[in-house]
Symmetry: C2
Subunit: 231 residues, 2 copies
DNA sequence: CATTGTGAAGCGTTTCACAGCC
DNA sequence: GGCTGTGAAACGCTTCACAATG
């Protein structure tokens, strides 16, 4: 009889780093590297080795003491933990500048997030083809979400339409949203939202840039990916 | 004689939220609202009121007990703290899909980050005009950075060129980088880097999406902007 | 008397340091 | 001997709770 799989709770901070490790491990794997130490992975990920070990320990004890981690196996485990064993089709709302760039960005599909559809409220935008996907009207959203079993939506509308876009996505059955509009979305409990706000990122840089005058600082914010060397 | 301004150290987490408050306050101001309570601001920002108060307290004691905060004054203080009293011209490296979308995105300039230039290594891309800016060759980077006093660079290249782009930016004199390439950049100490990685965001959503099966969860990751109501 | 400003408690994350193991 | 896995300490952020106050 199969052992009951106990779903470990993984800290948010760790969840946010697993994709980084995964990408690096994938690169290593394609260079035929079979084994990697926490130190090696940490170096490439721009974090410290203890953090890597603690992060990976939440997945289970998959390393070998005195040796390191088997790359291929770790890739498999991280993918499984992140739910990347199957594709997650996404639907993009907003076929403006950004929506088009996102739809045309192959990295999406390559990483397991094929664009199932892109919609816009503007009839003039409907019909054109971007990255192999035809722009459809936003009223078709429920149909796209249901037929393609989409659970992740991307909001790439102007700020004034973002809340409406989010509500339409939720009504259509989407349960996770990636929001590019500079707006705080109000969504029902149980819906996951992550946001990417370019202006916010620049303003954070501005803060550290401003402080720079006088004495240099070393690193910058949560988002940290700073590291010595180079240039 | 002027009092020596003591530069308070503001926690990173707070710095990351100030831009959100700023945007909301700006919206309120344009709706002629003159005063706002921590509760009101918290509601709109999707955080709790104690957090707003603590965040704002790092700027100084600018509220009025029993009343709230004067919107215009708070806008001024946050802008000053974030170094947004003047523009920060940015230079974009990479005139592909994303670079073009960024250059064509007016929100940049509107928020005080005018695009001083966009460069590409590909001679074929040089010369075309995007968002009113002509694409120039990457060799012109030092000249653009110096003449326009650029201190923030945006990396919008394919992953394989991102490290090179970062090094060129640093050599040209840029001290802050916003990185859109799915790569951990190695930069010298003292250079600020923030990254925006779409695939990572989607993979994080995938994790919570996967866990959803069975029992619903409420919120999602660091990036939190989840809130009750609507739909 | 509503609302700010803030010590102090609570909590999640990072880092240390070393026992455990190959 | 080298590297993992992990308790425990250190740290930073969030939240509480209430005194201070216009």
């Amino acid at each position: 009889m199969p052992v009951e799989r106990v779903r470990r709770r993984i800290p948010e901070a760790t969840v946010a780093r697993l994709p980084i490790y995964l990408r690096i491990l994938g690169e290593r794997a394609s260079e035929e590297v079979e084994c990697i130490s926490s130190e090696g992975l940490a170096e490439l990920a721009g974090v410290n080795a203890a953090k890597v070990r603690k992060d990976l320990s939440y997945l289970g004890s998959y390393g070998t003491r005195g040796v390191g981690y088997e790359v291929a196996f770790l890739v498999y485990q991280i993918r499984r933990e992140l739910g990347l064993t199957h594709d997650w089709p996404v639907v993009i709302v907003g076929a403006g500048n950004l929506g088009q760039a996102l739809a045309g960005y192959n990295g999406f599909g390559e990483r397991g997030f094929p664009v199932a559809g892109i919609v816009d409220i503007e009839p003039a935008k409907v019909g054109s083809v971007i990255g192999g996907v035809r722009v459809r009207h936003i009223d078709d959203l429920p149909q796209i979400v249901q037929s393609r079993r989409v659970s992740i939506g991307v909001v790439a509308t102007p700020p004034t339409s973002a809340q409406d876009a989010a509500e339409r996505l939720v009504r259509a059955g989407v349960t996770s949203i990636l929001n590019f509009a500079p707006v705080v979305l109000a969504v029902p409990r149980g819906i996951s939202v992550r946001k990417v706000d370019l202006a916010v990122e620049l303003q954070i840089l501005s803060y550290y840039e401003q402080r720079r005058v006088g004495v240099g600082l070393q690193a910058v914010g949560s988002n940290d990916s700073t590291r010595g060397a180079s240039a």
